[in-house]
Amino acid sequence: MPAIVSDHRVHTPSDVDDALRFLADHRDEGWRPLAGGTDVMVGIYRDHTGGQRWLNLSRLQAPLAGIRREDDLIRIGALATMADLRKSSLLAAACPLIGQAAAVVGATQVQNRATVGGNIVNGSPAGDTLPVWLALDAELELASTRGRRQVPYEQFMTGYRRTVLESDELLTAILFRPRSDERLRMYFRKVAPRAAQGISKLVFAAIAGLEDGYLHEVRLAFGSMGPTTIRARAAEQLAEGKPPSLSLVEKAAETLARDLTPIDDHRSTADYRHRVARNLVREFLAGNLGDHIPAAR
């Protein structure tokens, strides 16, 4: 049975102010922003939920889709698509993980429509780009008629598909400090059931500095390992300020379970996710050890 969409309502604002005014005027009427729609459409088809209300952002591309440097930060407009992220040389220089993550989102057709803002606001812990924002200490710019506020990405998701976005707010941009230092180590891996177009069983993004043989600013960020994207803080703290060693790698890997709370579902098992998380953290941290990496597993 095809989904019925004729009782859905769509409002299409012509500029950002118009959009924010509309949201302010219809605060509690259930209007949700619609960007690329690549997850929304699947949901409508799957759930046959009628009568939904959509704030269609398709005319806000010009103000909200740019990727540019702003002082010492990089600013990505919320409507930039995954394809934009993948192709941006600015982003490739600022943090290669972003392009890597965007390249494994869905199919090419999806990447051409799906937006970075949609991926974030959608609030799924399986969003492929999300651990990268976490690892980058990215900030989100939220706008409403009341003004603009900046929220660290880490505080944005509060639970499974729950965020701090108010019903009159739009996510307008992602901001982060570029990381092009050669002494930084970066890592991204999506583990999915097939080579392409798979939903993540687990996503891992990591960044760490290595200065004079000591780890610093270690960020270990995971998707699909809990109701929200999660940083493995205990492991990060364990590694912070220490020289990477075999025992440290093992200790850090064993500490992950303190922060990660994956579940058994129809996509994978908690046990598998824990095992892979440990192995990827081992690979990331040990990757810095040169000849001293631990024996094979």
């Binding site: 059931p193 097939r194 069983k201 129809h266 892979v276 094979a296």
Partner: protein
């Protein structure tokens, strides 16, 4: 008499130099599909058509007490059909005919159809479907094979066993006693969804005294029988005109009879055309799947690796109704001992009832399950015996004059050993196995990224019986019809369905071969049961072989008839065409050929002994793969598939069949995982039921051996299902080399591989 038993010789005698058989003639079905002009059932004109939907049970096992219709909905604007509205018999006729079209008493699976609704538009239909609730009294459900066999709760009306087959050769029990070594193993295989591109769909249109059915299907005459019985009509009042059908893989063998019946019931009551089309989720949840299986092996060996005795216990989970399970079970059992010579075999096979949606036909038809078990078990045994699995197979392969488990003497049709040797050569098996052993050894002491990689290569040796089981080909008496046209071209009439394999093209090709005419002058008519003869179902790898043989013979007889009436041999093709046109202008010119079993064919259904099949195709599949030991993910590096198919009709299509079958089987082996909970498929969408994409398809080397089989006038044996059988055990055997672990079930997902690997390391 120009038509002789050997078309190869007779063809050489003609002046016409272009052969049809074995040529990559242009694909007839291609253009319309590429241009989007092919008309699938949902592309039919929508004028005056109502849309049908199904009210389904929401519990797996229950007594149906009543159907409640919400009075807030205006029921006058829709048509509702329940079991009480069925004019004929409330049954889906298959083998045992135990499945009702609509249940009125016991609900046996979650999703079982209880009522049908037709409405003028889909929105009204959806509202109506949402306004029905079922009153049910729950019964204890049965989901596991052991619980079904325990028979504490009965799903069917007897003992939960749809069919029990005992296949005996020699005395396996006694022979096991005398074996040097006895090795046991237990194997499990999971359900698999067909994922044909086009979901199930039918449209029924009432006529003055009958009904026309259009839709997506493999077997038009199954639908004639089913709808006639359901509506209480004589079969000739049911006309089936198939639409272009977007894939089948067996999923459109038995299931379409049910949905066609539903559409017919709605059209009958609504007195207007009704279209009933499943969306992907409905299709995934409620249509048939490959039977899950449990196979136990107890194998007796001599110390040097000769098979002494094979005791095999095989159980298929048939789901809530028997559908084709009795026949799937039979093929599963007959193939369970594989292409090996062993004098003492006992195969005990049962298909059991559970409260899952009924399972059905799927490419391979039971053989992939039993062959996965056998071919994985053989490598396991070789390891236990300390022997090379290649040598173990070499020692035991069936040779000319050998007899299979069912007692069938394969005669000269025994290229198993040759297929094995060719596959070893083509894949460079021995050298690569050595290279991977070195690779793995180096990886285990490496400090580079290589340390997380392990490689392995494995193979499987297997066969597939061509055509329907035992006496079924004789029972169907398939017919083909050749008809001269006024322009001198020849039309071929069959009910064979094009479901992606290129049927229209090869039907024309084979008739052209028999006629010794250019293939362009042969018209393959679209099936329509008002005019097409019953050529049997488009299943069982029988189209090119069994019906293909009839087409060759029909072509030869047609030519003989034309030459006879025209007064002598006509060597020139253009002269022949003129002669056809001339004869047709006088009176209708047609030739009808019906299947008759070969005189030396004998199958005893009682004892399950004799010629189980007309012939066997033999194949060896080699899989090389790499495992990422950080994640347990498997990357298939390449596949080599060597097969003896008798004769290749169309090399490009044949290669496509192998590549597609291998890919489908790799999906079954590694990622396609039906997740069941309380009888419901939890991952019933294309996001979570993952099939391979192009990115997962490895390079493949496909090699055909051609030993024409004397039971077919063109020598061609069946092909379509064969390639689905070998990859899964070859994957398991390759993983054995890569990781040193015995995997005894499919799918072998990373969730199974990683813990097994890590536990082994610690």
């Amino acid at each position: 008499m120009p038509a002789t038993q050997n078309p190869v010789t007779s063809f050489a005698q003609t002046a016409f130099s272009e052969r049809a058989l074995g040529q990559n003639v242009p694909r007839r079905e291609g253009a319309a599909k590429l241009c989007g002009k092919a008309c699938y059932v949902d592309d039919l004109p929508r004028q005056d058509v109502w849309f049908g939907g199904t009210v389904r049970a929401d519990v797996p096992h229950a007594r149906l007490l009543g159907i409640r219709y919400d009075p807030r909905f205006d029921w006058s604007c829709v048509v509702v059909v329940t079991a009480a509205d069925i004019p004929g018999e409330n049954v889906v006729p298959v083998v045992m005919s135990d499945q009702p079209a609509l249940t009125d008493s016991i609900i046996r699976y979650h999703g079982e159809p209880v009522a049908l609704i037709a409405a003028p538009d889909v929105e009204t239909l959806q509202q109506a479907l949402d306004s029905v609730t079922l009153e049910t009294a729950p019964l204890e459900p049965v989901f596991e094979i052991d619980d079904a066999l325990a028979a504490k709760v009965l799903v069917d009306d007897s003992d939960n066993v749809f069919r029990h087959i005992d296949l005996r050769k020699g005395d396996a029990v006694a022979a096991l006693q005398s074996a040097d070594v006895v090795i046991e193993g237990e194997y499990h295989t999971g359900a698999q969804e067909h994922v044909y591109l086009e979901p199930q769909g039918m449209q029924a249109e009432p006529t003055e005294d009958g009904v026309i059915i259009r839709g997506s299907m493999q077997c038009p005459y199954y639908i004639v029988e089913g709808v006639a019985l359901l509506l209480g009509l004589p079969p000739e009042k049911v006309r089936v005109i198939p639409c272009v059908t977007g894939g089948g893989f067996g999923g459109k063998e038995d299931f379409p009879t049910l949905i066609a019946g539903h559409a017919a019931l709605l059209a009958h009551k609504a007195k207007r055309p009704v279209r009933l089309i499943y969306d992907r989720v409905e299709d995934l949840r409620y249509t048939s799947k490959r039977h899950p299986a449990r196979v136990r092996h107890k194998t007796g060996w001599t110390r040097d690796g000769r098979l002494v005795a094979m005791q095999i216990e095989l159980v298929l989970d048939g789901g809530a109704y028997s559908t084709l399970s009795p026949l799937v079970l039979q093929r599963s059992a007959i193939h369970a001992a594989g292409p090996y010579q062993c004098d003492h075999i006992h195969i005990a096979a049962r298909a059991v009832a559970t409260n899952h949606p009924p399972r059905g036909a799927f490419r391979g038809f039971g053989a992939p399950q039993s062959l996965f078990a056998l071919e994985t078990h053989l490598d396991y045994c070789a390891a236990k015996l300390g022997l090379d699995p290649i040598d173990v197979r070499r020692r035991n392969v069936i040779r000319p004059g050998g007899t299979l488990a069912c007692g069938q003497n394969v005669g000269d049709d025994a290229a198993v050993g040759e297929v094995l040797e060719r596959a070893l050569t083509e894949s460079d098996f021995v050298a690569r196995r050595q290279a991977y052993a070195t690779f793995n050894q180096r990886a285990s002491s490496s400090t580079s990224v290589e340390r997380f990689r392990r490689r392995g290569i494995g193979l499987s040796l297997f066969m597939h019986g061509t055509g329907l089981n035992g006496n079924a080909e004789g029972f169907f008496k398939s017919e083909v019809l050749l008809r001269g046209n006024s322009d001198g071209k020849v039309s071929v009439l069959t009910d064979l369905m094009e479901i992606g394999q290129g049927t229209q093209t090869i039907v024309a090709q084979l008739a052209a071969e028999g006629l010794r005419l250019p293939v362009e002058w042969v018209v393959a008519e679209e099936p329509d049961t008002a005019v097409s003869p019953n050529s049997g179902p488009t299943v069982a790898s029988r189209t090119a072989a069994v019906v293909g043989g009839l087409l060759i013979t029909a072509g030869q007889r047609f030519r003989a008839k034309v030459e006879h009436r025209s007064g002598g041999p006509i060597l020139d093709a253009y002269a022949f065409r003129s002669a056809v046109a001339e004869l047709v202008s006088q009176e209708p010119l047609q030739v009808r050929v019906a299947y008759r079993p070969p005189p030396d064919f004998h199958w005893d259904e009682e004892t399950q002994q004799g010629d189980a099949y007309l012939a066997y195709t033999w194949s060896c599949c080699v899989v090389a793969l790499e495992v990422d030991t950080l994640t347990g993910e498997v990357k298939v590096l390449d596949v080599t598939a060597v097969q003896d198919v008798g004769r290749v009709v169309h090399p490009l299509f044949a290669t496509g069949q192998v590549e597609g079958g291998v890919t489908q089987a790799l999906g079954w082996a590694l990622m396609e995982n039906c997740v069941w909970s309380e009888g419901v498929m939890k991952n019933a969408n294309m996001t979570d039921y993952t099939i391979p994409t192009a990115m997962d398809v490895p390079p493949m080397r496909v090699v055909f051996l051609e030993h024409p089989h004397p039971r077919f006038p063109h020598g061609a044996k069946g092909l379509g299902e064969l390639p689905a059988e070998g990859p899964a055990p070859a994957v398991a055997n390759a993983l054995r080399q890569a990781l040193g672990i015995h995997f005894d079930r499919v799918p072998i997902t990373p969730e199974i591989i990683l813990p097994a690997w890590e536990d082994r390391q610690s």
